[in-house]
Symmetry: C2
Subunit: 341 residues, 2 copies
């Protein structure tokens, strides 16, 4: 940027002190209308643009929320981000979207970055369960809200009950008559994956199925490619032991599995019923419309941002809250033969 006008230049031009210019910018009601207008004029003429860095330096805090998600390639997270952005915009804040890509290293990198930037606050879907780094940041005065992940009472969090979600999914499959069900997901170090698995097993137990009813198929990641690989694997199993249904830890996996089944001319749900998780928009548009566990994506983001803003703007009155949303099962053809025509 070439030399641009500062408040001082504006003040000089308007014939007032720089304090007055600042007041026009930040608390216009304290300035007499005539003066205010004169200052506005000067700002216009000089094409003055406030320097956010200087402002931050002085106020000690930036006006940008950091949002760290596990995978921007997953529409679930972009929808969530849209919710965050809405809430932020209402409060005159902006959002910087960071993609940890499930890597603790990158997560750490972004946390450092946000710390250096003295971010307004941080919304994060943490890669691992216990993240000491986050506690350390909080100890140093940075507000952090966990997203899509519950937490202890000492901090704010917004999540969806993944155990219930897993239960819903598998209870539905069992109701459809399935007894050999596979859970597809991983790494299990991801909380969401672990919780959904717990729910799945609980549903099996409730239905009186043996422990072996839920078979765990681990994947290295939660994307379409991993799903396709799993699809191959399942297709290669002997039909007598092959699961008749799979519950995938997210929709990307489910779409991958589905794609592989379609490629091999296996029937869904006939040969294999599939249930996904997240109910992203593409789930309904899949080869066989996908049964999925819906989460209030945008609302999740919106609420998280609101909690963060409250925590930052009213530190005295703020009460930590752990908001937990309920998931909802959306049944489509991929798990219900009667629905397909």
């Amino acid at each position: 940027m070439t030399e641009s006008a500062s408040v001082i230049d504006v003040a000089r031009r308007a014939g007032v002190s720089l304090g007055t210019v600042s007041n026009v910018l930040n608390r216009p009601e304290r300035v007499a209308p005539a003066t205010r207008e004169r200052v506005r004029q000067a700002i216009e003429e000089l094409e003055f643009v406030r320097n956010e860095a200087a402002r931050q330096l002085r106020t000690g805090r930036s006006r940008t929320i950091g949002l760290i998600v596990l995978d921007v390639g997953n529409p679930f997270f972009t929808d969530l981000a849209a919710g965050v952005e809405n809430a932020a915009e209402e409060a005159g804040l902006s959002v910087i979207l960071c993609n940890s890509g499930n890597s603790a290293t990158r997560e750490d990198h972004y946390l450092s970055l946000l710390q250096e930037q003295r971010a307004y606050g941080i919304l994060i879907t943490p890669v691992t369960g216990k993240n000491d780094r986050i506690q350390e940041l909080r100890a140093r005065g940075m507000q952090v809200v966990l997203v899509d992940r519950g937490s202890a009472k000492r901090q704010c969090s917004v999540s969806v009950d993944d155990v219930v979600g897993g239960e819903l999914a598998v209870a539905h499959l069992i109701a459809q008559g399935h007894e050999r069900i596979a859970f597809v997901g991983g790494p299990v170090s991801i909380n969401q994956v672990a919780d959904r698995l717990v729910g799945a097993r609980r549903a099996a137990r409730s239905a009186g199925l043996p422990k072996t009813a839920i078979r765990l198929i681990r994947t290295p990641g939660l994307n379409v490619a991993a799903g396709r690989k799993t699809g191959e694997q399942i297709a290669g199993m002997p039909p007598r032991t092959r699961p008749t249904a799979v519950f995938c830890a997210n929709d990307l996996l489910a779409l991958g599995v589905l794609q592989e089944m379609t490629r091999r001319n296996l029937d869904v749900p006939g040969d294999l019923a599939i249930v996904g998780y997240d109910d992203i928009d593409f789930a309904a548009a899949a080869a066989v419309p996908l049964t999925s566990v819906r989460q209030p994506r945008a609302q999740l983001g919106h609420t998280a941002a609101e909690l963060l803003i409250d925590e930052v703007s009213s530190p005295e009155t703020h009460q930590h809250r752990q908001v937990v949303f309920e998931p909802e099962l959306v049944v489509r053809e991929s798990s219900d033969a009667k629905l397909s025509t």
Copy 2:
């Protein structure tokens, strides 16, 4: 944030001047190893974290690239963003992802924001063709690279030849024997849409089809919902005049159309052949795998970021470049009956 240590505190603790601390941070080779180590120690002990705002204030420029895209909900743009992020990370920069959502107002809002933040530079997929605001920013010394949009010689841009893309798509449909083809997209004020349409018409002309061969069906946006509406509309046409094939301006539209066809038990490609654009990952996973025009998404972003970084870091030697990539047609079942089993 609570009081945190500054360079001065570090300097005091290490028994050096603050200039030396700054040197350790920015040009460590100029400091004697022993001193350097002592300073590093002090930084560690005090848990010193550089204040990015102060740094920016002094250097006059932030280390964050602004990326403004038309629609974060479209995987095309998140893939593009991933490419940008890679290139940025290599250069030690970060990226703030802004979503204009096709609204000129929001675009303007974000441009102001980035200007206030004295962004490192801006990568933008502009909403409208001529954007004076961008020229104004450039005149004031802000570097801007156009993404997914060609430009005049006076500035850098990275794009894919959308006319060729449109031509490829429609030439393919014509080769499949279609003579009543609809182009689905809008608003046509979006350059990409207009160019793809031009390409479509050119292909028709080359094949000797009458002008009326390509029928334009306008949509209010480029998303799945708009596609579904269009699908209804097409399904409602009398079979004798109904187009036998559609070329959609992007994959989201195509998926929407496809979804509606499937819902109505119309056969794709039998009753309607469909070609999309972008070849997002979900295209291959659709009800009927989608023929689409592939663009090098990540590479587009990566190259754009590189151009920007070159422009900012070597203003003297920098030569403006207009990089144009070639699109590629990926044929799948949605447009080719022989492929479906």
